[in-house]
Amino acid sequence: MSRENVMTPAGTAAAEPICLVAPDGTRRHHEPFDAAVADVSDDAVADLYADMVAARRIDTEATALQRQGELALWPPLLGQEAAQVGSARALRQDDFVFTSYRENAVAYCRGVKLEEMLTVWRGNASSGWDPFSVNMATPQIIIGAQTLHATGYAMGIKFDGGDQAAVAYFGDGAVTQGDVNEALAFAASYQAPAVFFCQNNQWAISEPVGLQSRVPIAQRAEGFGMEHVRIDGNDVLASLAATRIALDRARAGDGPTFIEAVTYRMGPHTTADDPTRYRSKDEVEEWSGKDPLKRIEAYLQTRGMAVDGFREAAEHRADEVAEALRAGVTGMADPEWEQVFENVYAEDHAWLRRQREQYGRYLELVEGEGQ
């Protein structure tokens, strides 16, 4: 099979992704989407822009920290700021979010503390924060597993009569996993108030999206009888609008929605990856022309806003974020040894207690000898 063949979805032509702000900053129109963001002022768009700038700075700073040996690994989201910020800003704080490991902008928008975002990558803990403090589960490494958790949570909302929604974030690679397909089946069957937000960033490490799906990914939802939409994932307004519509539908009891945000991972899969081995410079260049930040600058300029002013404000805020991030990481204390044995079980477990006691005695012995 030729590379082209793998890269080009067969069958029906891909639906043109819905876009409200074109790469050159031109405002485009789409009726239901326009209505969904009719209340979003230019200042509010500038706020979304500021979130995206902060997200990009978190990436830059964390990547630098990884290169300096302060973090073991980092999964950058460079290029996906619009998909994440637009969707996350559509959520209410009492909605519950389940993500993979690349949704750092979502975590930022949910209010996760910066150092908590990095605990796992520093190796201090398996995950960083109390999920109930921000209504966001800690990142999931197992591909697609979280879509079932979101579905179950959404079923729970329905069972106890809540008006919240549960949102699952995952990538194009995940749609091949059984769990994602099972999640779609369960969510559709129970008409759970769930939103499936797929960031199709074109690459699952080195594997192109054509290896995961022969049809546009959003089309997969059709087979499950699920509402679906394909959006320009580099357009923060389209992302906000699509998620708002899906959330309204969930809250109204009209069941789940599948959103495919067509975007691009500009950087490597993680800091351990070398994307030059599997993708062309031309491709990367083409996508950099669709940059989510630049288009909002261009758009706000057409709206008569002073670009330098809001860019400066956003960058100032991003500087503060980066500083706090660095201070949080470098100031992080190493965990105590007891933590190895903690929170495995809620109740005492005789076998583990024995191992902990034996190891404690061993440490005492070794430390005793050292003195």
């Binding site: 389940f98 995950s127 800690t138 958790h149 106890d160 929170n343």
Partner: protein, 355 residues
């Protein structure tokens, strides 16, 4: 005993299966966060009828028929637990649990640890397990060692109707995830069950079910009854066998096991699962570590073979039965046994050797 007395004391003659049903019903009635989920558990009442009548009594939102997808069943239960529910999921047969294995070992087992105690996973995963009912492949397996090996899970198996009733309630009440292995070939066995009684043992405790002083015979789940029968047969030959029902496979309650081995100096462990890296290996190694100087003979395991579960016309060769267990007992008593060759004794065993 009169019916009236039975009502007053909560005593009922129930099958093993009915006892689990009563336990589930009590848990559903006591806590509206308890949910029962699985394939066919609603209108049908489960393929073994363990959930019979529960959907009728508690509604389709408390007792849910789920789509046919095991990872989906367990994975959505994880999300429900995030939302504050206490799901009790049924995996229809032992051999069907593998599609859910990732959700169980990577999610259910680890979520408390990876969130440093913030997320509780009070799930009960019921799995009818073991052979002896003449089923086709994938319907008679004993996958307990996979789960006992996984930190974060508790693994239990009741062996009689009273324990079935008590232990399912304790499992649902437990804030840790519990893999609840139901010995399906015992589903129809009856006993008097006290529905009002306070549990006489914690969920994790082992129990001496037949006292004895010459050989310690350790079993769990479906083979406890076989072990008791073997002890009775041994007693007829003048050999005193102490039978211990492990009940909890993780953690194992080593106290009663150690006490027994210190008394008898001889130990036989039996289970249906294959021998290699099975629970018997752990029990033998741990008891050897703890009681080495009290042992008169190496521990002996009488187990299923290390083969895929055989077709039903062959399963009687695979499953340990009374005679194979007695053969194991003979071996640790240094009597003639297939396990130590025709000539009895430790020296003969050494000469016989293992390939």
């Amino acid at each position: 005993m009169s019916t009236q007395q039975s009502e007053a004391t909560g005593l009922r003659t129930l099958t093993f299966g009915q006892s689990i049903n009563r336990g589930l019903r009590a848990a559903l009635a006591e806590d509206d966060k308890v949910l029962v989920m699985g394939e066919d558990v609603g209108t049908l009442g489960g393929v073994f009828r363990i959930t019979d009548g529960l959907q009728k009594e508690f509604g389709a939102q408390r007792v849910l028929d789920s789509p046919l997808a095991e990872s989906g069943i367990v994975g959505t239960a994880v999300g429900l637990a995030y939302r504050g529910f206490r799901p009790v999921v049924e995996i229809q047969f032992d051999g069907f649990v593998y599609p859910a294995f990732d959700q169980i070992v990577s999610q259910v087992a680890k979520l408390r640890y990876r969130t440093r105690g913030h997320v509780a996973m009070p799930l009960t995963i019921r799995i009818p397990f073991g052979g002896g009912i003449g089923s086709p492949e994938h319907h008679s397996e004993s996958p307990e060692a996979y789960f006992a090996h996984t930190a974060g899970l508790r693994v239990v198996s009741p062996s009689n109707p009273q324990d079935a009733y008590t232990m399912i309630r304790q499992s649902i009440a437990c804030d840790d995830p519990v893999i609840f292995f139901e010995p399906k070939r015992r589903y129809h066995e009856k006993a008097e069950v006290d529905l009002e009684a306070e549990a006489d043992l914690p969920l994790g405790a082992a129990r001496v079910v037949v006292p004895g002083d010459q050989v310690t015979l350790i079993a769990y789940g479906p083979l406890v009854k076989t072990a008791i029968d073997a002890a009775t047969a041994a007693a007829d030959e003048g050999v005193s066998v102490e039978v211990i029902d492990v009940r909890s496979l993780s953690p194992v309650d080593f106290g009663p096991l150690e006490a027994s081995v210190r008394k008898t100096g001889r130990v036989v462990i039996t289970h249906e699962a294959g021998q290699f890296a099975g629970l018997g290996a752990e029990l033998a190694a741990s008891l050897t570590e703890r009681c080495f100087y009290h042992l008169e003979q190496p521990p002996v395991r009488v187990t299923g073979f290390d083969i895929p579960y055989p077709p039903s016309k062959l399963e009687q060769h695979h499953l340990p039965d009374l005679d194979r267990i007695l053969d194991g007992v003979d071996s640790v008593l240094e009597r003639t046994s297939s396990l130590n060759g025709a000539a009895a004794g430790p020296s003969a065993a050494r000469q016989g050797g293992d390939a």
